[in-house]
C-alpha cells in the first residue's frame, strides 16, 4: 500500500481475492513442507534404527545364555527363533514391513511383544518426566521473569547462582545424594519404585506421589536453570526495547507492562525449548529412572541395551525419535500462531 497524505483508496475486490488465494497457497505450502520434513526424518530414523543397533558390540544369544551350559545346537535354535540366522537383507525387509504395521517383533529377553512392553512402561515415564518438564518450565520461567525484572538485585544473583550450580550437577549423583539423605538416613521417602505393595484403590494416588517426590526433585533441579536463563536473558533484551518505553509512557502499571508487553515477546524463544524438552519426555530419564528403579521406558531402554535386545531397542529408538519429531512439528506449527512475524 502506498504511503500518502490522503486516505488510501480501498483495494479493489479482485486484487484482494487474488492475494487471499496466494496466501492460502503459501500457508498450505508451509504446513506441507513442515509435515513432509517430519516424515522424511521419521523414515531416516527407521532406517538408522535397524543398522545402528547391529553395529554396537554384543551378541544377544551369548548374553542371554550367559552362565548357563548351552550347546551349540541350542544356540543355533535360539538364533533361528530370533531370526538372526537369516541374511541381513531379509531381516531388514521383515523389520521394515513390521514397523509399517506398528509391529516391532517380540523382545528377546522378555519374550513378549515390544509394543506390549512399551505400553506397560509408557504411563510411568510420561507421568514422571512429563510432570518434571511442566514443573521445571513453570518454575524456571517464573523465576526467570522475576530475575530479569529485578536484574542485579540480590534475589537475581542468588537465584541464577543456585540454578546454575544445580544445572552443572550430574543427575545421577544428585539422585544418589537425595536417596542417601532423604530415603536412607531420614526415611522420609521410599528409596525406589513407583508403588508400595498391598496398597489398593484411592490410596494409590498419595502413595504414587510419595514415590515420585525424589525422582521429580532430581529431574527438576538439574533442568530448570535452562528455562530460567533463557527467560531471563530474553526478557532482559525485551526490557531495553523501545516498545516497553511506549507502554510505560501510556501510563500502564509496571506489572501490566511486564505481563502484557514484555513477557509475550520474551516467551517466544522459550516455546521452542519447551517443545524440544517435551519431545524427550518418553525417552524418560534413563539415569534417573534406573537409579530410582522407576518402571519407565528409560529403565526399559537401559535393560534392552545391555543385551542388546534388538527388537526392543529398535522399537524404543523409533518411539523416542518419533516423539521428538512430533513435538518439533507441533512447535513449528504453533510458532506462527504466537509470532505474527513468521506467519506464512
Amino acid at each position: 500500500m502506498a504511503d500518502s497524505a490522503l486516505p488510501t483508496a480501498p483495494v479493489p475486490q479482485l486484487a484482494q481475492s487474488v492475494r487471499d488465494r496466494s496466501g492460502v497457497r503459501r500457508r498450505f505450502r508451509y504446513y506441507g513442507e513442515k509435515l513432509g520434513g517430519s516424515l522424511v526424518s521419521l523414515f531416516a530414523v527407521i532406517l538408522t534404527s535397524f543398522f545402528l543397533f547391529r553395529i554396537i558390540p554384543g551378541d544377544p544369544v551369548r548374553t542371554m545364555t550367559h552362565g548357563r551350559p548351552v550347546s551349540i545346537e541350542q544356540q543355533e535354535q535360539l538364533r533361528r527363533e530370533f531370526g538372526l540366522d537369516r541374511p541381513l537383507a531379509e531381516q531388514f525387509w521383515s523389520y521394515l514391513t513390521g514397523v509399517l504395521r506398528l509391529d516391532f517383533g517380540d523382545s528377546f529377553q522378555f519374550n513378549r511383544p515390544v509394543t506390549e512392553l512399551i505400553g506397560d512402561r509408557l504411563w510411568p515415564t510420561v507421568l514422571l518426566v512429563g510432570t518434571s518438564v511442566l514443573v521445571s518450565a513453570a518454575l524456571g520461567l517464573w523465576l526467570g521473569v522475576r530475575c530479569a525484572w529485578n536484574h542485579g538485585s540480590l534475589g537475581d544473583r542468588v537465584n541464577t547462582g543456585v540454578a546454575l550450580t544445580l544445572w552443572s550437577v550430574p543427575s545421577f549423583w544428585l539422585g544418589l545424594i537425595l536417596i542417601v539423605i532423604f530415603a536412607s538416613e531420614l526415611g522420609w521417602f521410599p528409596t525406589s519404585g513407583m508403588e508400595s505393595t498391598g496398597v489398593e484403590g484411592w490410596e494409590r494416588i498419595p502413595d504414587l506421589a510419595h514415590h515420585m517426590v525424589l525422582p521429580l526433585v532430581t529431574l527438576v533441579a538439574v533442568v530448570y536453570a535452562q528455562y530460567l536463563m533463557i527467560m531471563r536473558s530474553s526478557l532482559l533484551d525485551e526490557m531495553g526495547s523501545d516498545y516497553i518505553v511506549t507502554a510505560r509512557a501510556k501510563g500502564l502499571r509496571d506489572v501490566i507492562v511486564r505481563r502484557r508487553h514484555a513477557v509475550p515477546n520474551a516467551l517466544l524463544p522459550t516455546v521452542t525449548l519447551i517443545f524440544v524438552n517435551l519431545g524427550f519426555v518418553v525417552f524418560g530419564a534413563v539415569l534417573v529412572e534406573t537409579i530410582f528403579s522407576w518402571p519407565g521406558l528409560g529403565q526399559l531402554f537401559y535393560s534392552g541395551l545391555s543385551v542388546p535386545d534388538l527388537p526392543l531397542v529398535q522399537g524404543l529408538f523409533i518411539l523416542f525419535s518419533a516423539a521428538v519429531i512430533l513435538m518439533n512439528l507441533i512447535a513449528d506449527l504453533l510458532y506462527p500462531v504466537l509470532d505474527p512475524r513468521v506467519r506464512p
Binding site: 500500500m1 504511503d3 500518502s4 497524505a5 490522503l6 486516505p7 488510501t8 480501498p10 542485579g152 526495547s241 523501545d242 516498545y243 518505553v245 511506549t246 507502554a247 510505560r248 509512557a249 501510556k250 501510563g251 500502564l252 502499571r253 508487553h261 509475550p264 515477546n265 517466544l268 504466537l338 509470532d339 505474527p340 512475524r341
Partner: protein, 365 residues
Amino acid sequence: MSLLEVKDLTVTYRASTSAASPEKRGSAGAGDVPAVRGVSFTLDAGQKLGLAGESGCGKSTMALALLRLLPKTAHLTGEIRFDGEDLLTMSWGRLRAVRWAGASIVFQGAMHSLNAVQRIGAQIGEPIRLHSPKVGDAEIRRRVGELLEHVGLPARRADAYPHELSGGQRQRVMIAMALACDPQLIVADEPTTALDVMIQAQILTLIESLVAEQGISLLMISHDLSVLADTCDRLAIMYAGRIVEEGPAATVFGAARHPYGQALAAAFPRIGDPASRRRLQGLAGDPPDPADLPAGCSFHPRCAVRLGHCDLVDPSLWPTAGREVPDDGESHKGKGNRPAGDGTRAACVRVLPDDGLSLVEKESA
C-alpha cells in the same frame, strides 16, 4: 499560564544504583554523568517548540525525563510544571494518569516502538481503555478506526501487525496512538529520523496539521534544524545538556547568535535557497563527554570564534537584543523568561556588550 514550564531541570545518571541511596542524593558523587544540566523553558498551549542538537546532547534524555520515563539510575532535580502540577513530585498514580492522557510521545523509529506481536488496533486502543475505563469495546474500535483514518490509513488496517506496515505507515500509527486520548501536549522525539525524505515531509505535514487542528502543544526534538525551523514557532538549541540558544524559529535558524547555533544552521541547506547548498559546513570535533566536560563554556574547544576567557566563564542565557548586561543571573530571572526585543537569548559571551569580561572578574574575585 503556560502549559509546560520546565525550570532548571537536571538529569544525572548515577554510576551505580547503590550510589543513589537517600543520604547521598543531591550531592554529586564520583562517576555521575550529568546528561541535562539546568534546562529551563516554557511552552504555551497550542505553541510548537523545537529542540535541536547533536546526538548525545541530552535532548532525548530530556524528552523521557518530562514524563519520568528514565531508568532508575537517572536522578532528576528541578521542576517540570505541567498544567500547574509538578511532575517531579507527584505520586506515581497521578503521574500514570497524566501520561498519555495529558502528554503523549511519538517515538523515534516506530519499528521498535510498537509491540511486534500485538495488532496495531489493540495498541492504539490500549491507552483509551486505560484512561477511560467506561468506554466499551465497540466504541474503542470505532475510535481506533477514526484515528487511523485521521492519519491517512484505512480503518481496516487496525487488524494489521506492525511488520506488515511500511516505516511511514508505522509512524502514522504512532501518531494515531499519540492522539488517542486527546492530549494537551505531544512530545515528538525524532519522529522522522528513520524515514526517507519524501515520507519525512508527509509525516511532518501530518503532525503540523493535526496539532494545529486540535490546538495541541508540540515539543519536537530533532537533530535536523531545518525540519524544526519549518514546523515550529520557537527553537531551542541544546549543547552538552544545556540550552545555548532560544528564540523565534526564523531568527534562530536564520541569524543564530551562538556559534554552535550558527554551525548547526550552516550544516543544513535552507529550503528555497539553492545557494545555501554550496555553503554547507560541518562542525569539526565531537560533542564533549558528559562525564568530563571542559571548563568554562563547554563549547569552547570546538568554537571557531572563541575568546581568551572562554575557558573561564560559563555564561547562561542572555537576551541578544542589545540590552544592558544584568549583574547576575538572579536579576534576569526576576524579569521572566521572555525578555523584550525579538526574544532571542543565547549563552555566549559574545552576546554580552563587554564580551563577558565582567564575569571573569567575578569568577576570580
